[in-house]
C-alpha cells in the first residue's frame, strides 16, 4: 500500500506555486494574495466564568434535576470511598500487621471492610460515569434542538445575512464543547471534594507531618500562576489556527469547481500550506507549554514523598508516628496531584464552554419577529383574495422598501409585478407569506390579516416558487411532494406532467426514485426549476406566488410552463414577478413598481396607452425589466419631473 501520500508531490507543488512568482519580485501581489485568502475564525475569548451564561444553561439542566442530584450523590460516594482506601490500609497495617498486634482475625475483618468499600466504590463509579455522560448527551441534543427550532422561527433577514457554515459550527462544535464540559463538570465536584478530603485527612492523621507535606502545594500554585497566562495565549492561538485551517478547507471545498476551472490548485495549496504550517507550529508550542507542567508536578510529588520519607520515617523511628500512617501518607501523596491536574483541565474546558455558551446564546437570543398569535386562526378554506392596505415595510429602520402600498387582488385573478431591481416586488410576495411583518398597514389574505392566521395554514394556502430552485437530498419524488408528504405517486406524476417535467424525470437513471444530491447536481438549472414548479403544483394552494421563477427557464420550457401555468392558475389567484413581456402580457393586471411604490396599474393594453414607464420599458425592448440600467431609469425620472 502506498503510504507516502504527501511529501513527494508536495515539494514539487510548493515550488510551482508562490515561490516561482516570488522570484518575479512582485511582493505586493503576494501580500495582497495572502490578505485575500481571508482568515475566518470566530473565537470569542470569553471570561472563564460568566454567571449569566451559567444561569441560562442551568435551565437546560432543569428536566434532569433528579438525575443530576443522584449523580452528585454517586460522585460523593465514589470520592469518599476512594479517600477511605488508604485509611483502610493504614488500619490494616497498624491494627493487624505491626509487631505485637499481629492478628489474622483482625486482618480478615479489615480486608472484608476493604472489599465492601471497593464494591460500593465501583457501583458509585458506574453510576457517576454513566449518569453524567448520558445526561450530558441529552442536554447536547436538547440544546441543539432548541437552537435549530429557534432558527426555524427567526426572521429571514437574520438567515440571509448569516452564513450556514457559521450556524453549523454553533450547532455542532459549540454544543459539543458544552457537552464535554458538562460531562466532566460533575467529576470536578468529586476532584474538589477529593482535594479537600486529602488535606483534611492528612492534617488529622498527623498535623505536623501533614503541614510539612502540603508545603509543596504553594510552590505548585506559584508556578501555575506564572505559567497560566502564557499557556492560555498559546492554547487560544492553537485553537484559532485550527479554525482558520478548517475555514479554508471548507471554502475550497465549496468552490472546488471554480478552483479546477481556474487551475488555482497550486496557489491554493501554497496558501493552505502556510495556514496548516502555522497551525502545526502553534500546536507544537501549546504542547510544549502544556508538557512543561508534567516534570514540575512530578518533581513536587517526589519532593512531598521525600518529606514523608525523611520526616515521617524519622518520626516512625522515634516511635512518634505509626508506620501505617506513614504508608497512608505515601498513598495520598502519590495521588494528590491527580485531582489538581484534572481540575486545571476542567478550567480550560470551562473557558471553552463559556465562549461556546456565549455563541449559543447569541443564536437563541435572536428575536423571533414573526410569531403566531395565541388565538391565531387555522383556516381550512380561504377565498384566495389578497389585499394590501397602506402597507409600509423595510428591512433596515428608516429605509422603507415599500411605501403605502394598497391594492386588492380578487380570487382567481393573475397579477404581474414588474419594475427594476429594488423596487419592492420581492418584498410584496414575502409579506404575503408573512416572512416579515409590516411596519404599518395590513396584509390580508382571504380577507384575514395574515397576523391573525397561523403560519402553518398560511403556508397551506399560499404556495411559492422561489428564484433559486433548492432541492433537498432525497428522491425526485420526495422533492416534489416536499411540503405535502402524503401526496400519492399519482399526484406527483400528475404535477410533473403539468409542468412538463415528467419526460426528463423518466429519463433519469431511476426515474422518480433518482436520488438528487447536493444542490441537485446533474440536473440543469432549468430542470431544477421545473422540479420546484412541480412542487408548487402538488401544494395545490389557492394562491400561487411565482418569484422571478421564470428567469432561468429557457424559452422552450417557459412556453410550455406558461401553458401549464395558465391551466394551473385557473380558479387560483396568481402573483407573478415576471421578467419577460410574454409572461406579463398574459396577466389580468400589471402593477409597475418603482422605489417602493406602485406607479402604474392596469392591463397591458391600458398601460401601453398610458404612455408611462411601462410603455417606455416596453418600447426599449429589454428582455427583463429589472435589467434596465439604473442610468436610464434616473434620466427618465429626471426627465419626467
Amino acid at each position: 500500500m502506498d503510504d507516502k501520500p504527501a511529501t513527494s508531490s508536495l515539494t514539487r507543488r510548493r515550488r510551482s506555486g508562490l515561490n516561482v512568482n516570488r522570484e518575479t519580485g512582485d511582493r505586493q501581489s503576494i501580500d495582497r494574495l495572502r490578505a485575500a485568502s481571508y482568515d475566518r475564525d470566530e473565537e470569542i475569548f470569553a471570561a472563564a466564568y460568566d454567571g449569566r451564561i451559567v444561569r441560562r444553561f442551568l435551565t437546560f439542566m432543569g428536566p434532569y434535576k433528579r438525575t443530576a442530584i443522584v449523580s452528585v450523590v454517586a460522585v460523593l460516594i465514589f470520592t469518599l470511598t476512594q479517600l477511605a482506601v488508604p485509611l483502610v490500609i493504614r488500619e490494616t497495617i497498624d491494627g493487624a500487621l505491626v509487631e505485637g498486634v499481629r492478628s489474622a482475625d483482625l486482618l480478615n475483618v479489615a480486608v472484608a471492610v476493604f472489599f465492601g468499600l471497593i464494591f460500593v466504590n465501583s457501583i458509585a463509579n458506574y453510576f457517576q460515569l454513566t449518569l453524567v455522560a448520558k445526561m450530558a448527551e441529552r442536554i447536547l441534543v436538547d440544546m441543539r434542538r432548541a437552537m435549530y427550532a429557534h432558527l426555524q422561527r427567526v426572521s429571514l433577514s437574520f438567515m440571509d445575512k448569516t452564513e450556514v457554515g457559521r450556524l453549523m459550527s454553533r450547532l455542532q462544535g459549540d454544543v459539543n464543547s458544552i457537552q464535554e464540559f458538562l460531562e466532566t463538570s460533575i467529576m470536578a465536584i468529586g476532584d474538589f471534594v477529593l482535594i479537600v478530603g486529602i488535606i483534611v485527612v492528612l492534617l488529622s492523621l498527623d498535623f505536623q507531618l501533614g503541614l510539612l507535606t502540603l508545603s509543596v502545594v504553594p510552590a505548585l500554585v506559584i508556578v501555575r500562576i506564572i505559567w497560566l497566562p502564557i499557556a492560555r495565549r498559546a492554547f487560544m492561538r492553537a485553537r484559532q489556527t485550527s479554525s482558520i485551517v478548517n475555514g479554508a478547507l471548507a471554502e475550497n471545498l465549496m468552490g472546488v469547481r471554480t478552483v479546477q476551472e481556474m487551475t488555482r490548485q497550486a496557489i491554493n495549496f501554497d496558501l493552505f500550506e502556510e495556514k496548516v504550517r502555522d497551525n502545526l507550529h502553534s500546536h507544537l508550542r501549546a504542547t510544549r507549554l502544556a508538557q512543561i507542567m508534567v516534570p514540575t508536578v512530578d518533581t513536587l510529588t517526589g519532593g512531598a514523598m521525600a518529606i514523608v520519607v525523611i520526616v515521617g520515617g524519622t518520626m516512625v523511628l522515634d516511635k512518634t508516628l505509626e508506620i501505617g500512617v506513614m504508608v497512608a501518607f505515601l498513598f495520598y501523596v502519590q495521588r494528590f496531584f491527580d485531582p489538581i491536574r484534572s481540575l486545571m483541565m476542567q478550567y480550560n474546558m470551562m473557558q471553552r464552554a463559556m465562549a461556546s455558551g456565549q455563541r449559543i446564546l447569541e443564536v437563541l437570543d435572536v428575536p423571533v419577529d414573526v410569531q403566531d398569535k395565541p388565538d391565531a386562526l387555522d383556516l381550512a378554506e380561504i377565498d384566495g383574495s389578497v389585499e394590501f392596505r397602506d402597507v409600509s415595510f423595510g428591512y433596515v429602520p428608516d429605509q422603507p422598501v415599500l411605501k403605502n402600498i394598497s391594492f386588492k387582488i380578487a380570487p382567481g385573478e393573475t397579477v404581474a409585478l414588474v419594475g427594476p431591481t429594488g423596487s419592492g416586488k420581492t418584498s410584496i410576495t414575502a409579506l404575503m407569506h408573512r416572512f416579515y411583518d409590516v411596519w404599518d398597514g395590513q396584509v390580508l389574505v382571504g380577507g384575514h390579516d395574515v397576523r391573525d392566521i397561523t403560519q402553518a395554514s398560511l403556508g397551506r394556502h399560499v404556495a411559492m416558487v422561489l428564484q433559486e430552485p433548492f432541492l433537498f437530498t432525497g428522491t425526485v419524488l420526495d422533492n416534489i411532494r416536499y411540503h405535502k408528504e402524503d401526496a400519492t405517486a399519482e399526484e406527483v406524476i400528475e404535477a410533473a406532467k403539468a409542468v412538463g417535467a415528467h419526460d426528463f424525470i423518466l429519463n433519469l437513471s431511476d426515474g422518480y426514485d433518482t436520488m438528487l444530491g447536493q444542490r441537485g447536481v446533474n440536473l440543469s438549472l432549468g430542470q431544477r426549476q421545473l422540479i420546484s414548479f412541480a412542487r408548487a403544483v402538488v401544494a395545490d394552494a389557492k394562491i400561487l406566488v411565482l418569484d422571478e421563477a421564470t428567469a432561468n427557464i429557457d424559452s422552450f420550457t417557459e412556453r410550455e410552463i406558461q401553458i401549464a401555468l395558465a391551466r394551473l392558475l385557473e380558479g387560483r389567484t396568481g402573483i407573478v414577478i415576471a421578467h419577460r413581456l410574454a409572461t406579463v402580457r398574459n396577466a389580468d393586471r400589471i402593477f409597475v413598481l418603482q422605489d417602493g411604490e406602485i406607479i402604474e396599474r392596469g392591463t397591458h393594453g391600458e398601460l401601453i396607452a398610458e404612455d408611462g414607464l411601462y410603455h417606455r420599458l416596453h418600447s426599449m425592448n429589454y428582455a427583463s425589466f429589472d435589467d434596465v440600467p439604473d442610468k436610464l431609469l434616473t434620466t427618465q425620472a429626471a426627465g419626467a419631473t
Binding site: 490578505a35 481571508y38 476551472e261 481556474m262 521525600a306 398560511l458 403556508g459 433548492f470
Partner: protein, 637 residues
C-alpha cells in the same frame, strides 16, 4: 403510461430509511470494515515510523518513564522498612536507618524528576509526531480534493468531505500519543513491573497483576464494540449534519411551504438515531471502565489480604507490602485510561478508514504518465464523434456522436432545450469529465494526452453558477491569475461591464464579497465570472449560458467589448437566448444529445425547422403564428 410509471414507484420510504438511503457511501460489511480499520491503523503507524528518530526517542522515553515510575514504589517500600528499622539483613542501627531514609528520599526525588522529564519527552514527541502526521494528511487531503474530478464531487456531499477533513484527521492525530505510546507505557508498566515485583514475591506479584488478563480480555471485546459504535455514530452524525445544512441553506423553501414541522420531524429522527448510539456508547464504555476498575481493586484487596497473612507469618515486611500496593496505585491511572485509549484507537481506525478512502481515490481524470503540456499553435478545437454518458447512468447517452470544429476567430453557438446536453459539451472541453467515446482535440492533440493544467489554462469556461470566494472583489476577478495587476483586472471588468459597479462600491475593488461580504446579484455574479475568464486570455473561450441573468442590452455591450479580445480565439457560446448566439459562424441545435440542425443563422431560418420555430417564439413572438411553440416543443417526426 400513467399507470405503468405509477407502478414503478416503490412504497414511500419511512423517515429513517429515507434518511439512510441518502448515504453517500456504502456501509461495508463488519468483517471488511475491521480489516479496513486495521489497515488504516497500520498505515498511520507506518507514517509515524517515518519520523524515525523522534519515534525511537519517544519509545525510549516511554520505557524510561515507565521504569523510573516503577522504581518509586520500590524506594518507598524500602523507606518504610527503614523507618520500621527492618533492613533486609536484619535490625539496623538508628543512625544507619536515618541515612538509609535520606538515601531513599534522594532516590525518590531523583526517580520522580526523571520520570517527569521522560514523560514530558514522550508526550511531546508523541504529540509532535501526531501533529506532523496531521499536517501531512491535511495537505494530502486538500490536494486530493482539489484533484478529484467533478464526477466525484457530484456524488459526495461536501459536508461529508469537510467532516473527514476536520474530525477524522483529528482522530488520527491523537492516535500516536493516545494509542501507540500509551499502550507501550502500559506494556512497560505491566511487563517490567511483573519482572521487578514477581522477583521479590511471585505469589503477590501474580496477584497484583491478576486483573490484567481480565482487563485485556474486556478491552478487546470492548474495542470491537466501540469501533462499530463509532462508525455508526459517525454516519448518523453525517446524516444529521446534512439535514441541518440543507434546512438552513434552503430555509426559504422550508418557510415558503410552511414545512417547519416536517423539518423538525426530520431533525428529531436524525437526532434520535445519533442519541441512541451515543447512549449505547456511553453505556458500553463506562460499564467497561467500571468493571475493569472493580477487578483492579479486587486484586488489590487480595494483595492486602495475602500480603497481610504473610506479614503475620513473618515472611513479608510492611515495606514490601507497601511496595506492592504502591505499585498497584501506579497502575491505577493507566488502567483507568485504557477506556480512553481504546476509544481513541477505535476512533482512529474508523477515522483512518474514512480518510484513506478519499486519499486512495484515484482521480477519474488525471494526467497520463508522461503527458506533455498542450502546445497551442492555432487554437483549433475539434470534437470528433464524441459521445458521453454519466457514470452509472441508466438512460441513454447524454450526448451522442457530436462532431464540430471551431477555428480561431470563429464562434460556435449551441442551443437546445434543457437537458439536451449543451452543458455536457462544455464540461468535456476542459476535461471536467472524459468522453465515453470519440475524441476532442486542440490543434490535433487529444486533450487526454496533454497535461490538465496546460489544457485548463488554454480553455476558459464561464459557468452558469458563479462561486464567490470570501475575499476582495479584485482577488475574485483575478482568481485564476492572482498576480495580475490592477490594470489587467480593470480591463477585464470593463469588458464585462462590471467596472462601474465595482468602482461605485464603498471600498471599490477592495470590497469584500462572498459569504461574509457584499452579496452580488445573479447578473453581477455572471459578469464577474466573465471577467474572471477574460482576464486569463485563454485560447478557447466557452460561455455556458453565462449571460442568462444579464439583460440583452448589457450582453450586447459585453459582446462588443469581447469582440476585440476574442478575435483570434475560438469561442463557443451556449445559450437559450438566440440573440446571444445569432451572430455565430455556426449554430448547433441540440436535442436529446443529438445535433438535429446545424448551420448559420440565415441557413437555419431558411430551413424553417425547429430553430426557426424558436426564433419566432423568442424574437417574433407577436407576429409568429400560434403554432410556433408547439413546433419547438414537439418535433415534427
Amino acid at each position: 403510461m400513467n399507470e405503468s410509471s405509477a407502478k414503478r414507484l416503490p412504497p414511500r420510504p419511512t423517515l429513517k430509511s429515507g434518511l439512510k438511503s441518502g448515504m453517500d457511501y456504502q456501509v461495508p460489511t463488519l468483517e471488511g470494515d475491521h480489516k479496513r480499520g486495521a489497515q488504516a491503523l497500520s498505515r498511520v503507524a507506518r507514517m509515524a515510523l517515518r519520523y524515525r528518530w523522534r519515534f525511537a526517542l519517544a519509545l525510549l522515553a516511554v520505557v524510561a518513564a515507565g521504569v523510573f515510575q516503577l522504581l518509586i514504589p520500590w524506594y518507598l517500600g524500602n523507606a518504610v522498612d527503614n523507618a520500621t528499622g527492618l533492613l533486609e539483613g536484619g535490625v539496623a542501627g538508628a543512625d544507619e536507618a536515618q541515612t538509609a531514609l535520606l538515601i531513599a528520599a534522594g532516590l525518590i526525588v531523583g526517580a520522580a524528576v526523571l520520570r517527569g522529564s521522560f514523560t514530558m519527552l514522550h508526550n511531546y514527541l508523541g504529540e509532535s509526531i501526531g501533529l506532523h502526521i496531521a499536517y501531512e494528511l491535511r495537505l494530502a487531503y486538500f490536494e486530493k480534493l482539489q484533484r478529484l474530478s467533478f464526477s466525484y464531487h457530484d456524488k459526495i456531499h461536501s459536508g461529508d468531505l469537510l467532516t473527514r477533513g476536520m474530525l477524522d484527521i483529528e482522530g488520527i492525530r491523537r492516535f500516536v500519543e493516545f494509542g501507540i505510546l500509551r499502550l507501550v507505557l502500559l506494556a512497560v508498566l505491566v511487563g517490567v513491573g511483573a519482572y521487578m515485583y514477581m522477583g521479590s514475591d511471585p505469589v503477590l506479584g501474580l496477584l497484583s497483576l491478576s486483573f490484567v488478563p481480565f482487563a485485556f480480555w474486556r478491552a478487546t471485546v470492548f474495542r470491537l464494540r466501540m469501533r462499530a459504535l463509532w462508525r455508526e455514530l459517525q454516519e448518523a452524525l453525517s446524516i444529521l449534519t446534512r439535514v441541518m445544512e440543507e434546512n438552513l441553506g434552503g430555509i426559504r423553501v422550508v418557510r415558503a411551504f410552511g414545512a417547519r414541522d416536517f423539518e423538525m420531524k426530520k431533525f428529531d429522527a436524525g437526532s434520535r438515531v445519533a442519541l441512541d448510539i451515543s447512549m449505547e456508547r456511553v453505556g458500553v464504555r463506562y460499564t467497561n471502565t467500571s468493571v475493569i476498575t472493580f477487578s483492579y481493586f479486587l486484586a488489590m484487596g487480595f494483595v492486602l489480604w495475602v500480603g497481610g497473612l504473610r506479614i503475620i507469618e513473618g515472611t513479608l515486611t510492611v515495606g514490601e507490602l507497601t511496595q506492592f500496593l504502591a505499585f498497584m496505585t501506579i497502575l491505577q491511572m493507566p488502567i483507568r485510561q485504557t477506556g480512553m485509549v481504546i476509544n481513541g484507537i477505535a476512533r482512529a481506525s474508523v477515522a483512518g478508514a474514512r480518510l484513506f478512502d478519499v486519499l486512495d481515490m484515484e482521480a477519474a481524470i488525471d494526467d497520463k504518465p508522461g503527458a506533455l503540456p498542450l502546445k497551442v499553435t492555432d487554437g483549433v478545437l475539434r470534437f470528433g464523434d464524441v459521445s458521453f454518458k454519466y457514470e452509472g447512468f441508466r438512460g441513454q447517452a447524454t450526448i451522442s456522436n457530436i462532431g464540430f470544429e471551431v477555428r480561431p476567430g470563429r464562434t460556435l453557438g449551441i442551443v437546445g432545450p434543457p437537458g439536451s446536453g449543451k452543458s455536457t459539451i462544455v464540461h468535456l472541453i476542459p476535461r471536467f469529465y472524459d468522453v465515453t467515446s470519440g475524441r476532442i482535440t486542440i490543434d490535433g492533440q487529444d486533450i487526454r494526452d496533454v497535461t490538465l493544467d496546460s489544457l485548463r489554462a488554454a480553455v476558459g469556461v464561464v459557468q452558469q453558477d458563479t462561486f464567490l470566494f470570501t475575499s476582495p472583489v479584485s482577488a475574485n476577478v483575478a482568481y485564476g491569475e492572482p498576480f495580475a495587476d490592477q490594470d489587467r483586472i480593470e480591463r477585464a471588468t470593463d469588458a464585462s461591464q462590471l467596472h462601474s459597479y465595482i468602482a461605485a462600491l464603498p471600498e471599490g475593488y477592495d470590497t469584500l464579497v462572498g459569504e461574509r461580504g457584499v452579496s452580488l446579484s445573479g447578473g453581477q455574479r455572471q459578469r464577474l465570472s466573465i471577467a474572471r475568464s477574460v482576464l486569463l486570455t485563454p485560447s478557447v473561450m466557452v460561455f455556458d449560458d453565462s449571460t442568462a441573468a444579464i439583460d440583452a442590452a448589457t450582453e450586447r455591450r459585453i459582446r462588443e467589448a469581447l469582440k476585440e479580445l476574442t478575435k483570434d480565439r475560438a469561442t463557443i457560446i451556449v445559450s437559450h437566448r438566440l440573440s446571444s448566439l445569432m451572430h455565430a459562424d455556426e449554430i448547433l441545435f441540440l436535442d436529446k444529445g443529438h445535433i438535429v440542425e446545424r448551420g448559420t443563422h440565415q441557413e437555419l431560418l431558411a430551413k424553417n425547422g425547429r430553430y426557426r420555430a424558436l426564433y419566432d417564439l423568442q424574437i417574433g413572438g407577436d407576429k409568429g403564428d400560434p403554432g410556433a411553440a408547439g413546433r419547438v416543443l414537439e418535433p415534427a417526426e
